[in-house]
């Protein structure tokens, strides 16, 4: 594949094309040239060049099957777009027989420097690899259209995301406050799932009441259980050694709580076997 050639010169400027062009397509004349002399200054220098690798192929390819049209209003080099009535329309028909034909249009030679043109060329050469026809149409209102086109593939700028519905304040303090409230309500939901019977309760205060009651009941249960355990523990002073560990073994399959409720009394009874219990615990973990 031969590299495509760009002609950068605006079409009245005496900018010689430094590239070796195999062929420069004949331009259709500018349809309408207004009174502004700025056009000559390079406002709407539109030039398209197609370079095919083979000269003969290029010579054959003026078949008018593909239409390239650019119409732009030349704002001049200074960009005086408001009053400028210059519209240059340039039509370009080309057909390339081989797939290698490239074309680059530059609507403003001043705005479009070489690097931009090359980028444009590269992006287009990807597209036209498979297709022999190229159709590009651009109607530019200002002279900067060329650069706008070339900057099209760039991703759009990201913007600050504000989650504010209608009527909500958008200053940073209220936003932070809203985020905090969202976090808290999310936590409250988790707590609601934890506390049984708390899902039906509506209202933050009632939910908190439920949570407080549940914690208090749990703590009271712990208290009650420790009372009972104390009683059992004091009773168990002597007969602990009578625990047959084999009797406890079958029940150790039930739950993890049961397992360590059953295994631990062995250690409790025989304090010397703590290493064994460590091993057991390690296995269960």
């Amino acid at each position: 594949m031969d590299p495509p050639i760009i002609n950068e010169g605006s079409f009245s400027a005496a900018n010689p094309s430094s590239y070796s062009l195999a062929e420069i397509w004949p331009f259709a004349a500018a349809a309408n040239v207004g009174g502004n002399g700025e056009l000559g200054g390079g406002g709407l220098g539109l030039r398209m060049s197609s370079f095919t690798g083979l000269l003969e192929a290029a010579a054959n390819s003026i078949n008018e099957s593909t239409l390239t049209e650019q119409s732009g209003r030349s704002g001049g080099g200074g960009g005086a777009g408001g009053g400028g009535g210059n519209v240059g329309v340039r039509k370009r028909d080309m057909n390339s027989e081989d797939d290698f034909s490239k074309f680059v249009f530059t609507s403003d030679a001043n705005d479009l420097d070489g690097s931009v043109a090359k980028r444009l060329k590269a992006s287009q050469s990807k597209e036209e690899n498979g297709a022999s026809k190229i159709e590009a149409e651009s109607s530019s209102q200002t002279a900067n259209k060329g650069t706008e086109q070339s900057s099209k593939p760039e991703p759009p700028k990201d913007y600050i995301h504000v989650r504010a519905r209608r009527g909500q304040a958008t200053d940073s303090h209220s936003l932070a406050e809203r985020a905090r409230r969202e976090k808290i309500s999310e936590r409250m939901k988790i707590l609601q799932d934890l506390v049984p019977g708390c899902n039906k309760v509506i209202g933050k205060a009632l939910v908190l009441d439920e949570i407080i009651n549940y914690i208090q009941s749990l703590q009271r249960q712990v208290e009650f259980l420790s009372m009972k355990l104390e009683a059992v523990n004091s009773r168990m002073n002597h007969p602990i050694e009578t625990y047959p560990s084999k009797d406890l073994a079958p029940s150790s399959i039930d739950t993890t709580g049961m397992i360590f409720g059953t295994q631990a009394p062995r250690e409790y009874a025989q304090g010397a076997q703590s290493e064994w219990l460590h091993m057991q615990v390690g296995n269960k973990l």
């Binding site: 905090r180 976090k183 808290i184 936590r187 409250m188 988790i190 707590l191 934890l194 506390v195 205060a205 908190l208 009441d209 949570i211 407080i212 549940y214 914690i215 208090q216 749990l218 703590q219 249960q221 712990v222 208290e223 259980l225 420790s226 009372m227 009972k228 355990l229 104390e230 059992v232 523990n233 004091s234 168990m236 002073n237 406890l248 739950t255 993890t256 709580g257 049961m258 397992i259 360590f260 409720g261 059953t262 631990a264 009394p265 250690e267 409790y268 304090g271 219990l277 615990v281 269960k284 973990l285």
Partner: protein
């Protein structure tokens, strides 16, 4: 979550039974000591990752220092729902609200597993 709670359960059961055995060797025991042992072993089973367990552990570690402070705090704390919750969750007096809710969720989880394990131990010992 299930694996974590089962790990905590086994650790708690091990520590609690160990401390029960120690208590058994002492001359006089009461239910408060058993309760203390239960809370301490629960907190040490959870470890120092959680703020409430850290509060329990530090409270136990310097119990004599805190005795006067606790009395003062109890008098000065105003009555509100959040105040109640703060009082219930250990270490809750110094947390912000979001952390308080977070710790409360973990504390409830641990309390439920603690109650279950203690019930199991009681069943075993009483039968």
């Amino acid at each position: 979550m299930t694996t974590r709670s089962s790990i905590i359960r086994t650790r708690f059961a091990y520590r609690f039974l160990h401390s029960l055995g120690k208590l058994n060797q002492q001359a006089k025991t009461n239910s408060r000591r058993v309760k203390h042992a239960a809370y301490t072993s629960m907190a040490s089973a959870v470890g120092s990752k959680r703020a409430w367990s850290r509060a329990v552990l530090s409270k136990i570690r310097n119990r004599s220092l805190n005795r006067n402070l606790l009395k003062k705090k109890r008098r000065s704390s105003e009555e509100s729902r959040f105040g109640e919750l703060r009082k219930l969750v250990p270490g809750g007096e110094v947390m912000n609200f979001y952390n308080l809710l977070d710790e409360t969720a973990d504390y409830i989880n641990c309390l439920t597993s603690q109650v279950q394990v203690m019930k199991n131990i009681l069943n075993l010992l009483s039968t």
